[in-house]
C-alpha cells in the first residue's frame, strides 16, 4: 500500500530533484572547472581558483552591494505600502472587490512587458514624469541615465509591480483576525494606532514574515526588470548579481565563473533569509517579554 503512495509521488519528486537539486551539484562541480572560450568551452579542473577570483572581483562586490540596496529598499517599501493597501482594502467600503482586482493587475503583468513600459514613462524628456515636471517649470529627472537616480527608478518599478502581491497576502491575514477583538478594543476606548499596534500587527506577524521572506528571496534574484529597464546601466550602476552571472555565461561565455557567481549569490540569499528569519524570531520573543 505504501509503495503505491511513493509511486504516485515519484514523477513529481523526480522532476523537482532535476530542476532544484541537480543544478546545485552541477554548479558545485562547475565552479571548480575552467570552462570558457579560453579552454575551447571544455571543462578543465582548476581547483578553487574561481572562488579566489570571486573574492577579489570588485564587480562582484559592487553588484552584491547594488543587489542588497535594491532588495532592502524595495522590500521595505513594498511591506509598508502593502500593509497600507491591505488595511484600506480590509475596510468595508463600496466597490472593495473591484478595487482589489484592479490593484492586483500590476502583479499579473509580465515583468518584461511593464519594464518596457517604464522605460517610456521614465523617458527624458518625453515621458509623462518629465513632461509634468517641465509643465511645472522644474528641471527634468534623468531617471535612466544618472547612476545616482537610476537604481531608484528600478526600485519604483519593482514596488509598483509587487506591492499588490504583498497587500493580498496581508489582506488574507487581516481577514483571519476575529472582529470581536476590534469591538472589544473599541469598547475599551483604544485609539486606532493602539489597535493597530496591539491587535493587528501581532496577529499579522506570521503573514508579514512569509511576505518578507518570499519577497526578499525574489528581490535578491532580480533579473528581468533590470535587464529590460536599464540593462544594468548606466555604467553598471544597477547591475544585479543574477544579471552579472547571466552576462558571464551568455556574453563572455565563461560558464565556470558564471556557476561560481550563481553559487555565491545563493550563499548570500541563504545568509540573508536565514538572518531575517532568526532576527524576526528573536525580535518577536523579546517584544513579547517586554510587553
Amino acid at each position: 500500500m505504501r509503495w503505491r503512495l511513493w509511486l504516485l509521488m515519484a514523477p513529481a519528486l523526480a522532476l523537482l530533484l532535476a530542476i532544484f537539486a541537480a543544478p546545485f551539484l552541477h554548479y558545485l562541480w562547475l565552479s571548480t572547472q575552467a570552462q570558457s572560450v579560453l579552454t575551447g568551452l571544455n571543462p578543465e579542473p582548476i581547483g578553487a581558483q574561481q572562488w579566489l577570483r570571486l573574492w577579489n572581483d570588485s564587480r562582484f562586490w559592487q553588484d552584491t552591494w547594488q543587489t542588497l540596496r535594491f532588495s532592502a529598499t524595495s522590500v521595505s517599501l513594498e511591506m509598508l505600502l502593502g500593509l497600507a493597501v491591505a488595511l484600506l482594502l480590509d475596510q468595508p467600503l463600496r466597490g472593495r472587490g473591484v478595487l482589489r482586482t484592479i490593484s492586483l493587475l500590476p502583479w499579473a503583468l509580465p515583468t518584461t512587458v511593464m519594464a518596457l513600459g517604464w522605460r517610456w514613462i521614465f523617458n527624458d524628456p518625453y515621458g509623462p514624469i518629465n513632461r509634468l515636471l517641465a509643465g511645472l517649470g522644474l528641471p527634468a529627472i534623468p531617471s535612466l541615465s544618472n547612476p545616482a537616480i537610476t537604481w531608484m527608478a528600478t526600485v519604483g518599478a519593482d514596488t509598483w509591480k509587487t506591492t499588490p502581491f504583498v497587500a493580498l497576502l496581508l489582506l488574507a491575514g487581516l481577514q483571519t483576525i476575529p472582529a470581536d477583538l476590534y469591538e472589544a478594543a473599541a469598547l475599551e476606548g483604544a485609539t486606532p494606532w493602539q489597535t493597530l499596534r496591539r491587535i493587528t500587527l501581532p496577529l499579522l506577524t506570521p503573514y508579514l514574515l512569509i511576505a518578507l521572506l518570499f519577497r526578499l528571496a525574489q528581490a535578491l534574484g532580480v533579473f528581468d526588470l533590470i535587464q529590460v529597464l536599464t540593462g544594468g546601466g548606466p555604467a553598471g550602476s544597477t547591475e544585479s548579481l543574477a544579471l552579472y552571472a547571466y552576462l558571464n555565461a551568455m556574453r563572455f561565455l565563461d560558464f565556470g565563473y558564471s556557476a561560481t557567481l550563481l553559487l555565491g549569490s545563493f550563499a548570500i540569499l541563504l545568509l540573508l533569509c536565514g538572518t531575517a528569519a532568526l532576527v524576526w524570531r528573536w525580535g518577536s520573543r523579546l517584544l513579547g517579554e517586554l510587553r
Binding site: 509521488m9 523537482l16 497576502l169 550563481l262
Partner: protein, 263 residues
C-alpha cells in the same frame, strides 16, 4: 480619497501606455500635432514575425505547462495527504522552500540540460522546467485541498470496492475542482511571464514567447526609440492577462492566499 489614489497608482502606468499607443510618433516626441492613430498596432501585427505569434507561443507553452504540472502535482499531493504525518511534514517543508526560490539562479544548469537533451528551440520542451518550477506551489495548494476532504468519503468508496484510480476520478477530483482551477491559473500566469529560461532556451525568432520577445523589442533600437510601438506592444502583451485576471479573479486570489498560508 485613498481609494482614488490606489486606483490611480495601479492603473495610471497602464493607461499611459494605452494612450501612448494610440498617438502618432510625432505627437509623442512633442514635434507634431495631436490626433489619434492605429499605426503602431498595424506595425506590430504586420511585423516579421507578427506580434500575435509571440502571444500564441506563450499560450501554447502556458497550456502545456499547466497540463503537465497538474498531471504531476495531483497524484503527488494526494499521496502526501495519505502517507503519514512525519514524512509529509518534512517533504512539505522542502517543497515550501522550493516555492520561494528565485528561478533565475537555475538558468545555467537548465541551459546545459537543454543542450544535453536537445531541448533548445523546442517550444513544448519549455513546459518541463516550467512544470518543475511550478510544482511546489501546485503541490501545496492541492495538498491543502485534499486534506480538507473528509477521509470518510474515501473510506466509503473503498468499501464499495473502488480502486485507487476510480476513487480519485469519481470521488476526490470532482471536489478538487476549485483548487485545481486556482493552481492551473497560477501556473499559466507563471509561464506566461517567465523570462530567464525562455530567454536562454529559445533563439529562433518565430518561437519566442512574449517575455523574451518584449525584451528583444526593447533591445532592438537603443537610440531611435519607437515608443509608440513599445506602448502598443505593452498593451497587446498585457491585454490577455488583464482579461484572465478579470474573468478568474476569485480563483487567482484564493490560490495566491492559500499558497502563501500553506507555505
Amino acid at each position: 480619497m485613498a481609494r482614488l489614489l490606489l486606483l490611480l497608482w495601479s492603473l495610471g502606468p497602464m493607461l499611459w501606455q494605452l494612450y501612448s499607443s494610440l498617438r502618432p510618433s510625432a505627437a509623442l516626441s512633442g514635434t507634431g500635432a495631436g490626433g489619434w492613430t492605429l499605426e503602431h498596432y498595424r506595425q506590430l501585427l504586420q511585423g516579421d514575425p507578427p506580434f500575435l505569434t509571440y502571444l500564441l507561443n506563450s499560450a501554447v507553452v502556458g497550456i502545456c505547462s499547466t497540463a503537465l504540472t497538474l498531471a504531476l502535482a495531483v497524484p503527488c499531493a494526494y499521496a502526501l495527504t495519505r502517507i503519514g504525518r512525519r514524512q509529509a511534514r518534512s517533504l512539505t517543508l522542502l517543497v515550501a522552500t522550493a516555492a520561494g526560490f528565485p528561478a533565475v539562479l537555475l538558468f545555467l544548469a537548465l541551459l546545459e540540460l537543454a543542450r544535453d537533451w536537445h531541448l533548445a528551440n523546442q517550444l513544448l520542451a519549455l513546459s518541463l522546467p516550467y512544470a518543475g518550477l511550478c510544482l511546489p506551489l501546485a503541490i501545496l495548494l492541492l495538498q491543502a485541498a485534499f486534506a480538507d476532504i473528509p477521509i470518510e468519503l474515501e473510506e466509503a468508496a473503498l468499501i464499495e470496492g473502488m480502486g485507487l484510480w476510480q476513487r480519485l476520478r469519481w470521488v476526490l477530483l470532482p471536489l478538487m475542482a476549485p483548487a485545481m482551477a486556482s493552481s492551473a491559473l497560477l501556473v499559466f500566469l507563471f509561464s506566461w511571464n517567465e523570462y530567464p529560461i525562455a530567454l536562454t532556451w529559445l533563439s529562433r525568432t518565430d518561437l519566442l514567447t512574449l517575455a523574451p520577445a518584449m525584451a528583444r523589442i526593447a533591445g532592438s533600437s537603443v537610440f531611435t526609440i519607437p515608443y509608440g510601438a513599445f506602448a502598443a506592444a505593452t498593451v497587446l502583451g498585457s491585454a490577455p492577462l488583464i482579461l484572465l485576471m478579470l474573468l478568474f479573479q476569485k480563483q487567482i486570489i484564493s490560490g495566491l492566499t492559500q499558497g502563501a498560508m500553506k507555505g
